[in-house]
Amino acid sequence: MIKKCLVTLLLISLLCSCKNEEITSVQSYTYNELKPLLEKNDGKTYVINFWATWCAPCVKELPAFEKINKEYVAKNVTVILVSLDFPKQVAKRLIPFINKKKLQSKVVLLNDINENFWIKAIDSSWSGAIPATIIYNGKDRKFYEQSFDYDQLETELQPFL
C-alpha cells in the first residue's frame, strides 16, 4: 500500500515537474560575462531585451518578445531577456515572476554596478532608460531605446532574416 502510494506520488511529481518546469535560479552575469551573448556569430538572429519586473512598460511588452521567441524559432531567432532587477529581488520577485508568467525565453540577470561603462559599451546612443532592445546577427545590429508591440517588433526583425 505504502509502496503504491509512493509510486503514485512519484509519478504525480514527475508529471508536475514536466508540465510546469518551474525555475529556481537565474544565472547572473557581469557585463564582461554577458558580452559574448551580445556578439555571437553563429548564424542565428538574437533579440536581446533589457527589462526588469519593476519596469511597467517592460512587463507590458514581454508577451511580444515571448511570441517572437515562439513563432520565429524555426527561423533561427532566439530571444534573451536580460533582467536588471536588483540582486536582492531575484529570489523574491524575479524568479516568482518568471514562473507565474511561464516565460519561455531565456532570462539572465545583469548584475554589474559599473553602469557608466557598460551602457555606452552596449550602445553609444543608449541613455540608460529601459526598456531597451538589441536585434543582431553576424551581419547586422540595431539598438532601440523604446517599447515594442508585436507588430513593430516583427517588422524590425524581418530585415535580419
Binding site: 536588471l84 554596478i113 553602469e115 540608460g128 529601459i130 517599447s147
Partner: protein, 201 residues
Amino acid sequence: MKLTKTILILFVCLIASAFTMEIAEGYQVGDVIEDFKLKNIDDTMVSLSDYKEAKGFVIIFTCNQCPYSVVNEDRIIALDLKYKILGYPVIAINPNDPRASKGDGFEDMKVRASEKGFTFPYLFDEGQNVYPKFGATKTPHVYIVSKSGMNVEYIGAIDNSSRKPEAVTEKYVEDALDALLAGKKLVKTKTRAIGCSIKVF
C-alpha cells in the same frame, strides 16, 4: 524630373530626420536652457529666476515609483543639503504623466516628499512640456546648470553606483559641483546610469 523628385525626397527625409533628432536629443552640455514655471508640492509656482542668490541648479528628473529614483532619494536630499548653501540647490521635477504611471500624481508627490522629508522643491511637469526640452529620457536624470549664462554643465547620473549606494567610489555630481565652485574645468560632463523610461500617456 526624376532627379528633381529624388532630390526633393532626400530633402524631405533630411528635414524629417533633423527634426526627430532634435526632439530626441534636447539640451546638450554647453546649451543655454529656457527657464520654466512649474507647480511645486506646496502649491506655489517655481521658476529658476526665483533663485536670485543661486549660482546654479541641480535639476533632477525623478519620480515616486521608479526603484532607481527611490534608491537615490537619500542621496538627492544629501546633495541639496550640502550644495544649497553653496549656491547650487536641487530642483526635482517629476516628468511622468500620472495617467500612465500610477502613484506619480501631484497628491502622491506631496505624500512621498513629506514621508522622505524632501528639502527641495518637487515640481510637477504638468502637460509634460519641460522634460522634452531637456531631452530627459528617464528617472533619475540629472542636469547641472550654471546660472551666469544658464548653460548646461553636466548631464547624467548622481554617482557611479546608482542602485547600490554603499559601493559608490565616484560622486559625479559632487565632483562637477566642486569643480564649478572652484572655477575649474569639469572632468566628466556626461555619465550614464540605468533608469525608468519617462511615462507618457
